[in-house]
């Protein structure tokens, strides 16, 4: 299948556009020799400040464009490509704008917030690349919900095995119940579990053999079946956790990327307001 991503959109057209624009801006910056030294108040400084502000507004507009479903001229993929590459370019535009002068003030605060937004964005890009491979349930045409239902039904099967063969056979031996206690676990999804990089591991061969050999002969077959079910459960829980983890991180990322970007807008407004009225 074709693998053109939003990064490589149309042979990296947005990357190259941004690259050459930055190159041009750097050349102009180097050639420029204003009175009073390079800073945000020169013609080049104001121009670059304007460009950066326009860039930031364009990036913010993505949230609106994403929901403009009737939009006809562009695709969201193309806009996302521009969003990412222009965002990265802004890292370099702002120092050119300020003449590399930074301090502990509201102006630099705006830059720092912008960097935070952009770096969180880059983190998001990395996640967008990995996510398709982590949303495993999707590959079977299912959902996380279906996966969790499978876990539930397999747990029910396990419990049925423990409960004396559906009421027909004799109650299970203590050894059988002990084995169950040792190897089974209750899976309660939680935020913490979703974030922790730890999945249930397959049962070790050794403990399998130990448990099996402790069973009375007539329960050996059921014991084998139980181990099969328990292993299946571990595998499914592992997959579910993997996916839940991926989805949780996306959510966390959104909760970071968006508020920081709004903080940036506020700081930017203060920055512009203060330079025009108090500088």
């Amino acid at each position: 299948m074709a693998r053109e991503t939003f990064l490589s959109y149309r042979s990296y057209v947005w990357f190259w556009l941004c690259f050459f624009a930055l190159l041009a801006m750097t050349v102009v910056y180097l050639l420029d020799d204003p009175i009073g030294g390079k800073n945000g108040g020169t013609i080049v400084g104001y121009t670059y400040g304007g460009i950066a502000t326009a860039g930031i507004l364009f990036l913010m507009w993505y949230g609106i464009r994403k929901r403009a479903y009737f939009s006809a001229r562009t695709t969201l993929k193309g806009i996302l490509s521009a969003h990412v590459w222009i965002g990265i370019a802004l890292i370099f535009v702002v120092p050119l704008h300020s003449g590399f002068s930074f301090g502990i003030n509201v102006h630099t605060l705006a830059y720092v917030l912008m960097l935070l937004t952009i770096f969180s964005g880059i983190w998001g890009v990395a996640m967008y690349q990995r996510l398709p491979y982590e949303i495993q349930s999707q590959r079977g045409g299912g959902t996380l919900k279906v996966l969790m239902e499978q876990v539930r039904s397999i747990s029910a099967d396990i419990n049925r095995m423990a409960a004396s063969d559906g009421g027909k056979g004799a109650p299970k031996s203590d050894a059988f119940l002990r084995m169950l206690q040792q190897l089974d676990f209750v899976y309660q999804p939680s935020l913490w579990r979703s974030l922790r990089r730890k999945n249930p591991e397959p049962i070790e061969r050794r403990s399998m053999a130990d448990s099996l050999s402790s069973l009375p002969i007539e329960e050996q077959e059921d014991g084998l079946k139980l181990i099969g079910l328990l292993n299946k459960k571990r595998e499914l829980v592992g997959r579910a956790q993997e996916e839940a983890r991926a989805l949780t991180w996306v959510r966390i990322w959104l909760y970071l990327h968006l508020p920081v970007s709004f903080g940036l807008i506020a700081a930017l407004a203060v920055h512009i307001f203060s330079v025009f009225f108090y500088w």
């Binding site: 299948m1 479903y69 939009s71 193309g78 045409g141 039904s153």
Partner: protein, 784 residues
């Protein structure tokens, strides 16, 4: 002595009501016999369902009131008409009709008997629901329909049956009730794939309990006894819904001596201009003769009584005929007669049939040089030349044309194969042409054998000419057509297998086939597919070699086949054609030598072919390597389509990185279009299949679609409803639930919103050819 009536009306549907009320108004002695409820089909509708009054243009002529309204309003109107006109209504089931002299003896299951001079049969096509046939089947909690699933809550319900309606009922009830499904067999072979998957999932998850190979043994209040492979089982139940199919009325109808034109289950008995069947004094109206709409049936009921009385009656559809023919110079009725005489194809149609045909057609007056349709258009209408002539461009050379004069027809390829137009057609002079909807002609083909034969004959001839023998002598082709035979294949059937002795050449008329060869390990590897219009197995006609590949139908296929001996025999007698054909076959053989596929692309090809993709015109495809599951596609679809997404991203099947989500494929042979009473489904010239505003929400298309992409939905109110936050729901939307599915965003110039709104470009809408390119050659795409 049995009571005698002038007219006995069997069946109290709209047609029967139209007849009985008119008979009552005329003061004729009559009886209206109904085995179930008055207007039973409508009675069985879901509660408060809106009943539409299609076709809108057709005036109503009857003593029965009928206009668009809720089920309850319509039924109340019918009831009132019965009371006010003094219809002699009788609840009984007729099981035997015999002729005695010039009267009929009508026998009922309850032993009642009548005699009647005329019988009006308005029993529709639904048949009688199959009953349980066990003790207790008549208890009040045993039902054969489910009008309102919401009316059941916290009950123990048994649903009997394994078809789509049983499954849909069981699933609809399972949310609030404890449902057991009773399946006579061990599987669900009759159900649609989507329904089968849903019910199996519900059974697996314990939502629905299923008894396989089981039947009800007897019913008692509050419980039922089932015979299962494990012996008799007692199940608690407050309600039983039997959806075990129905016994079609055909046998009953044939028992009266009425003939059907063919064994085709879709065929209708033919009637004359007065709706009289081949049995004198038995008249048939409504759905049973192919008029499924309520208004049509009511009108026919009215008219049939006038005919019986010998009164002249102008057909109700006169306004429609005037609309269609009005722009021609001269008198409308004279023009209608003129057209009827010219079109030999329709010479055996009854007057009402012909009028309906014209009413559903468009009459075009075209000037010399006007294009009627272009090659590769997706239109599927059928054309007749009334006066003048048209030229059909030959595919290989646009300067060559063959001329069709008055009485000829064209456009039959689209009719049968569902494929794009194979040639451009132009008017050669000022001509009058009639364009008819595909469904109308298909309906005629199944009920009038002469139409089917004539269309088939010409279709075969032209198929042979365009697909294999463009330069062949016409006499040779005509002979070949005589010897060619139809062969139909079900999905998965092999036309022939690698290593077989070659016997036939196949021309694919409809559907598509997969070509596969065994690799060194003896595993069948898919190589490619061929769509309708192509031919396979041509080597068999000239060589003695065994078959070099296996050819399998990937969707139901219709083919035309020619036996080797016939073909050779004909070639012997036509040396010139022989030379052309041999060269052509040699060229094909060279073309056929292609490199073998690698295993991965062959598997992918196998997957999409087995999903019927080759029969689609435009498939929605998700590249799972790019999809991040953000659902922006569904949001885009909902936002651009009245708040309801027509694609289910999480549904459908997937293989490796390809997912085919549930969304319309705009099939070449759209099954959804087959049985739409108001003809609301339409195929546009670009190939998309859309549902028009005149949908009546009957749900036939939903049932017929094998891919489960159509749903009945209410339009959602626009904008955000603040009250809903406080638990106040808006009043239930007025209007019927209507069928909704993907329309390829035909109203947006830029194409499908889902594809354009995917941030990672994981979604593609592609035609099968592009899809094969993607899968086989692994080409990069940059769509959007």
């Amino acid at each position: 002595m049995a009571e005698h009536f002038e007219i006995a009306v069997i069946g109290s549907g709209p047609g029967g009501l139209g007849a009985a009320t008119n008979a009552a108004k005329h003061g004729l002695s009559h009886v209206l016999i109904e085995k179930a409820e008055l207007a039973n089909t409508i009675y069985d509708y879901q509660l408060r369902k809106l009943v539409m009054a299609e076709p809108r243009r057709l005036p109503l002529r009857s003593h029965v009131p009928f206009e668009e309204g809720s089920r309850e309003e319509v039924l109340a109107g019918f009831q009132k008409a019965v009371e006010e006109t003094g219809v002699n209504y009788l609840k009984a089931e007729v099981n035997k009709v015999t002729r005695e002299g010039d009267t009929f003896l009508i026998g009922c299951t309850n032993g009642q008997q009548f005699t009647a001079k005329h019988i009006v049969l308005g029993i529709g096509t639904m048949g009688t629901p199959r009953k349980l046939g066990v003790p207790g089947e008549d208890l009040p909690h045993v039902a054969y329909t489910l009008a309102d699933p919401d009316a059941f809550n916290g009950m123990d319900i048994i649903v009997v049956g394994a078809g789509d309606s049983a499954i849909e009922n069981a699933l609809g009830l399972a949310d609030k009730n404890s449902v057991s499904l009773l399946n006579r067999s061990g599987e669900f072979p009759r159900a649609k794939d989507a329904n089968r998957a849903k019910i199996l999932e519900a059974i697996d998850s314990g939502k629905v309990r299923c008894f396989y190979n089981a039947a009800i043994a007897r019913v008692e209040p509050e419980r039922a006894f089932l015979s299962t492979p494990d012996g008799e089982v007692e199940v608690r139940c407050n309600h039983i819904i039997v959806r075990a199919g129905s016994i079609p009325p055909r046998k009953f109808v044939e028992g009266m001596g009425i003939k059907f034109p063919s064994s085709d289950l879709n065929s209708f008995p033919s009637v004359n201009d007065r709706y009289e069947s081949n049995v004198p004094n038995i008249f048939i109206i409504g759905g049973l003769i192919g008029y499924p709409l309520i208004k049509q049936a009511i009108n026919q009921g009215y008219e049939v009584v006038e005919h019986i009385l010998g009164n002249a009656v102008e057909p109700a559809d006169q306004v429609i005929i005037e609309e269609v023919l009005g722009h021609l110079p001269g008198d409308v009725n004279a023009n209608l007669e003129m057209i009827r005489k010219k079109l030999r194809l329709f010479s055996e149609l009854s007057k009402p049939q012909f009028r309906e045909l014209i009413g559903d057609s468009k009459v075009h007056v075209v000037e010399q040089g006007d294009v009627v349709f272009e090659k590769n258009d997706y239109t599927d209408t059928f054309w007749n030349v009334v006066t003048g002539s048209v030229g059909v461009e030959m595919p290989d050379d646009p300067n060559k044309m063959f001329k069709l004069g008055p009485g000829n027809f064209f456009g039959e390829m689209g009719l049968i194969s569902g494929r794009r137009r194979t040639a451009t057609v132009r008017a050669l002079e000022k001509s009058i042409l009639i364009e008819t909807k595909r469904n109308q002609i298909l309906k005629l083909m199944s009920s009038v054998p002469s139409v089917k034969d004539a269309v088939d004959q010409v279709f075969f001839l032209r198929a042979l000419k365009t697909s294999i023998f463009p330069d062949a002598d016409p006499i040779f082709l005509a002979e070949l057509t005589q010897r060619a035979e139809r062969a139909n294949f079900q999905k998965g059937d092999a036309l022939f297998a690698e290593g077989d002795q070659g016997d036939y050449l196949y021309i694919i008329l409809k559907g598509s086939v997969k070509i596969s060869r065994k690799n060194v390990d003896g595993v069948d590897v898919a190589q490619t597919y061929l769509a309708a219009g192509n031919y396979v197995g041509e080597m068999a006609l000239v060589t003695e070699e065994p078959r070099t590949a296996t050819v399998t139908a990937v969707v139901p296929c219709n083919t035309l086949r020619i036996a080797k001996e016939d073909f050779r025999d004909l070639l012997e007698r036509n040396p010139e054609t022989r030379e052309n054909v041999m060269r052509l076959i040699a060229e094909r053989q060279i073309e056929n030598i292609t490199s073998a596929r690698d295993a991965a692309s062959a598997q992918a090809l196998n997957f999409v072919l087995s999903e019927g993709v080759s029969d689609a015109d435009n498939v929605l495809l998700i590249n799972s390597d790019l999809c991040i599951g953000c659902d922006n596609c569904e949001k885009a679809c909902a936002a651009t389509h009245k708040g309801y997404s027509r694609l289910d991203r999480k549904g459908g099947k997937s293989f490796a990185a390809i997912q085919l989500p549930i969304s319309c494929r705009h099939c070449e042979n759209p099954l959804c279009m087959l049985d739409c009473p108001p003809d609301a489904l339409e195929r546009k010239a670009d190939g998309e299949v859309v549902i028009k505003e005149n949908c009546i929400g009957c749900g036939n298309c939903v049932t017929n679609c094998p891919y489960g992409v159509i749903q009945l939905v209410y339009d959602k109110p626009h904008g955000f409803d603040l009250l809903s936050l406080f638990g106040k729901k808006k009043k239930k939307e007025k209007g019927p639930a209507k069928a909704a599915k993907c329309d390829l965003c035909e109203k947006l110039e830029s194409g499908p919103a889902c594809v354009r709104s995917c941030p990672t470009g994981a979604l593609l809408r592609v035609n099968p050819t592009d899809m094969m390119r993607l899968l086989i050659n692994r080409e990069e795409t940059s769509i959007g």
